[in-house]
Symmetry: C2
Subunit: 153 residues, 2 copies
């Protein structure tokens, strides 16, 4: 999972760390943070585009990874559908999945186009520190569902 920006409040970093720990039981999970590109108080569209492109470049996403871009305009899946999608990837031999959670300006268009899946967690906007907790929880939930574990009920 690659996240842009600071972890935010302590409770959010603690929550994300907890899911990262639990995910270790199911996969080799790594949370990588990329610093948010600096922007003034009222950046222009061009400045935002350049900042997002710079963040994308610095993510250094492995070329063969399956990329899931978390974005509000993406596909909405239920937790069960999301779990099934992950299970199918594993069957198809995908060895590495990268989930990308953007910063306050979202993700570069180029990244969203390149991603194999654009995934939406609904139409509401959440602070990115909370969005990363939600994403980590859904990954954990998906792997629990696929493992037939009790957690998800």
């Amino acid at each position: 999972m690659i996240c842009v920006g600071k972890t935010g409040e302590r409770f959010y970093s603690d929550a994300a760390a907890e899911y990262a720990k639990r995910l270790g039981g199911y996969c080799k999970f790594e949370l990588r943070e990329v610093s948010e590109a600096r922007l003034g108080a009222s950046p222009s569209a061009a400045e935002i585009t350049a900042a997002l492109a710079d963040e994308y470049r610095r993510m250094k996403i492995p070329p063969r990874a399956y990329v899931v871009a978390m974005c509000v305009e993406g596909e909405e899946l239920s937790s069960e559908q999301f779990a099934a999608r992950i299970a199918r990837l594993t069957v198809d031999g995908v060895g590495q999945i990268v989930f990308v959670v953007g910063g306050s300006y979202g993700l570069a268009e180029e990244l969203k186009r390149a991603a194999q899946l654009r995934l939406s967690m609904g139409r509401m906007t959440f602070p990115h520190a909370l969005a990363r907790v939600m994403t980590a929880e859904q990954i954990y939930r998906a792997l629990s569902i696929n493992a037939g574990a009790k957690y998800h009920k």
Copy 2:
């Protein structure tokens, strides 16, 4: 905001408490907890229905309040649309809004029918302790948007 069940992990109760505190700047906010009705490991549908009805009864929702039932099958609004909805209620003279977040079996059908708004935060299932943080954050975001504050950016 009325929630069913325990607050869950410390980081979730801390997060909910933080939004409760911030909401105090915009409204008289109260978080009330109702204990989850006890059920066995594999309850029947009738047992679940009875448990949810019991939880609903114990919520003691004020009769004149505007009730928002948080449920996956509800209406999906963007944060801005949700804020506009809240603003309109205020104009219409609604003095009290009750948000209800259910426990692991959700909410009583009777409650959902009686609610003025069924609100969905997307198709994914989140643990109820996280759902209450998400709900509190969205209420705070809505009131910030309506106040023209910087938070929501």
